[in-house]
Amino acid sequence: MDAFYIILTATLIALSCGLLGCFLILRRMAMVGDAISHAVLPGIVIAFLVSGTRDSFWMMGGAALLGIFTTFLIEFFHKRARLQTDAAIGVTFTWLFALGIILISVFAGQVDLDQECVLYGEIAYVPLDLWITESGKVLGPRALYIAGLVLLINISFVYVGYKELLLTTFDPTFAASIGISISLWNYLLMGAVSMTTVASFESVGAILVVALLVAPPATAYLLTDRFPALLAATAALAVAISAGGYYLAAWLDGSIAGAIVTVAGVLFGLAFLFAPRHGLLTRRWRQRRQRQALAEAAAGYRE
């Protein structure tokens, strides 16, 4: 049962991250996920200090606000200070993350949080933290419910705003010309990324979140050439790497999060080499076959 809970939680988180990641990589903002996942740290700490609880609702709220603030800062440095996007991202998130670390260390006595846990998380503990009702009924792991709720919110968000998200990603100028607000949809997407990142912190850690935001969509991008297919392939990869990662970790008796990212990396490598249209080796083979066919045709012509 523990294996099932862990794989299911990982899958739900991977699905959420992959869904948003598809938009992020096409917007060339993959690393914004990285930035947000680190920059929300002060938001979590402040939310904790204000509310006094480690209730996920507060944490998520504080983090989502900080996530949007991060996006705003990145845009601001990029547009106003004419800084390159990647430089703006780098400056913003390292600074906010540092701020979060200072907050944690200053209030160390009062804060039951540490950056180790935020950065690395530990998915193996998912089945230990159960949601038990007042009447004593055990409903299953808390993280599972949070991951499910976050996935539901993300799916609804993308379902409602599918056209707008797609158009502001593909052709923002045209989107603006038909009256769709580019910045509104950008901030909504970033809000969703921050919410997802934070909700996934406790169970899987920031590093795994970044990997899940980028690796499955990037792999699916190599395999598909339609956006709906990209989403479907990303979802399939999310399931595959969660289950594959868990069993790899069980076999190695190692870190589950580490194993999940490893599997994601291996699948990306395979897609890079063998993808039907764009794979490195498939392209080589195709060229060689074409050359042979040409040579044969030329030989036949000479005869």
Partner: protein, 263 residues
Amino acid sequence: MKIEAKDPVVEFHDLTASYDKKPVLWNIDMTLPQGALIGIIGPNGAGKSTLIKAAMGLLPLASGYVRLFDRPLDEVRRRVSYVPQRETVDWDFPTAVLDVVLMGRYGRLGLLARPGKADREIARECLRKVGMEAFARRQISQLSGGQQQRVFLARALAQEADLYFMDEPFSGVDAATESAILSILQEMTAQQKTVVVVHHDLQSAAEFFDWIVLLNMRLVASGPIEKVFTPDLLQETYGGKLTVLSEVGELVRKRQIPSREKY
């Protein structure tokens, strides 16, 4: 030299726009007529693209206003179509040709609505008009520059607007595509639609347009081509650049001898 349109569809009123705090358009004040193929001509950095972006509300104005169909843009958005420069989008995006044309229908659909059968029908028809129906299911990364431009034109047609702003629709296309696009634009103006085109090639401008706007950060001239496309005004627009001047002289000479082949 400025000639006001009798039946104006577009009105720029004392418009000043800046880009990165540096003004690129000064006091543009003019009206453009309905049913005309209008060329915006000027040297690089003259603010041609900025002018149509300003008309579409895509950048903040320092002063002045634009009225389309005698109304603010937000009230008539569905009647107006904008075609960005081809280079502004990522042509490796995972999407098919027909999906891009369908985006032209998005402005008419509510938040939750998806393009329906009728929208698909219209999109197919628009692809047929630009001669790309065989490419409907193709991924856009497989298109040539001219084909990309045709797809953008099809998407604009799918908007079924009355006024079109196009940013360099003839840039980087082959001769066949150029004449195909031109004949579609002429067909549109014959149906009393208004087409405003940013164009940088003087040579073809002389043949394409009914109405010319000469722009070099300020408005040099606006009016019917036979009144405005003169050596003096072109010289004023392009400044004292010798090579351009001699080119202009050559052009005017060619225009007076109508022996030049039409494709």
